[in-house]
Symmetry: C2
Subunit: 231 residues, 2 copies
Amino acid sequence: MGGHGLRGPLPGLPTATVERLAAYLGALNALEERGVETVSSGELATAAGVNPAQLRKDLSHLGSYGIRGVGYDVQSLRFHIDQNIGSAGDWHVIIVGVGNLGRSLVNHSGFLSRGFRVVALFDVDPALIGRSVEGHPIHSMADLATVLTEPAATIGVIATPAQAAQGVADRLVAAGVGCLLNFAPTGLELPKEITVRRVDLGSELQILAYHRQRSLADDAAESVQVSVLGD
Amino acid sequence: MGGHGLRGPLPGLPTATVERLAAYLGALNALEERGVETVSSGELATAAGVNPAQLRKDLSHLGSYGIRGVGYDVQSLRFHIDQNIGSAGDWHVIIVGVGNLGRSLVNHSGFLSRGFRVVALFDVDPALIGRSVEGHPIHSMADLATVLTEPAATIGVIATPAQAAQGVADRLVAAGVGCLLNFAPTGLELPKEITVRRVDLGSELQILAYHRQRSLADDAAESVQVSVLGD
DNA sequence: AAGTGTGAAGGTTTTCACAGCG
DNA sequence: CGCTGTGAAAACCTTCACACTT
């Protein structure tokens, strides 16, 4: 039971495509809220910050859902992307670490609109345990096994300080959570069957600063060029 | 003065390499704190979650700073990576939006250790303006031009709700900030000379969920395979 | 022996350019 | 006519395997 019609017709989407599909989905959500009904590859590409050919190629992996000469129907495209990268689960999200980052994730508007449901919060601070944030009670890590109803369909979000992260990850894995999003600025060593993704805010700044330097350098080079060409 | 020896010997690092170098730097910071003096490509690669050959190839773009048969000196490698992706600036960071996310960024340990300095906070909420977080006073957006001392060397972090993001970005750009990190779940339309990077927490969950599905599917396929081979 | 540095091979991703449909 | 869908070409990135160094 529960199985429906199409059995995974796609043996696998290119990784790079998956990352962009998630972004297109966000842009489509926004367009839908604004009541836009149709969008061309050019418009959607601009909104997502990629080039139109790339967007069309990405979408072509899902099938042929556009209308030639017109564009894409916003609702139907949103539905089809969702089928491919969101559908298979009613994912539960638990957040470990109810500091500022944890709190900001609880409220995050992008979660609900994509079908993710925050089901529990955990912390080690006795002052927090028993209180609640946005209607979600904060549990002790000791209650992990009791609180988890569906470990296999649960994403654990690690929003703790770096030194606590590995320990938290180990406990989550022991409780059956197989999918982790790590915000702590440290790598995690885990069995390879666990799916992990890391978001490192420090690295993001660094990457940004590098690109900025480069683009300033390029501009300088180009303006030399321009002044040689003269006016 | 201030200009030193080598003039940018590297015309440009591959994008993918830059993203990983930032991660290596984080791992090296951690090793240095723990007092480790030497590390091999295998160890560092594990810590950063990549394969050793890739790490060596990445480092080879910076020059030849390893010791054959031994590994890399942690401090010196850290220094050289920093030279290539961090150095050129004493970057200032301003954070717009002092909600939970903004607050968590102010405290973020990964920032200071990489040479980024939070220099100002901004918000639109009159109840917040004038108060301070971790010693950083919260300013009104109207004071943007006054507070910025070095717009060109400033990274603007957008930690506002989605609907405020575009307006904030426009004001930052108008004030001379050319480098933005956007946490709001929306795309920004900006002049192309502006360097932007987006971190979309909703997309991160979605990408993670997709990979999880896939790896469960693969495991299922493999266990069929195993049972065919029998035991 | 142990581990780096690197050409060359093999994959993947992006871009191009245009055929084909509405 | 405009815009999608897509092979084929080009660019880019990863992995391999081994010469070379300490």
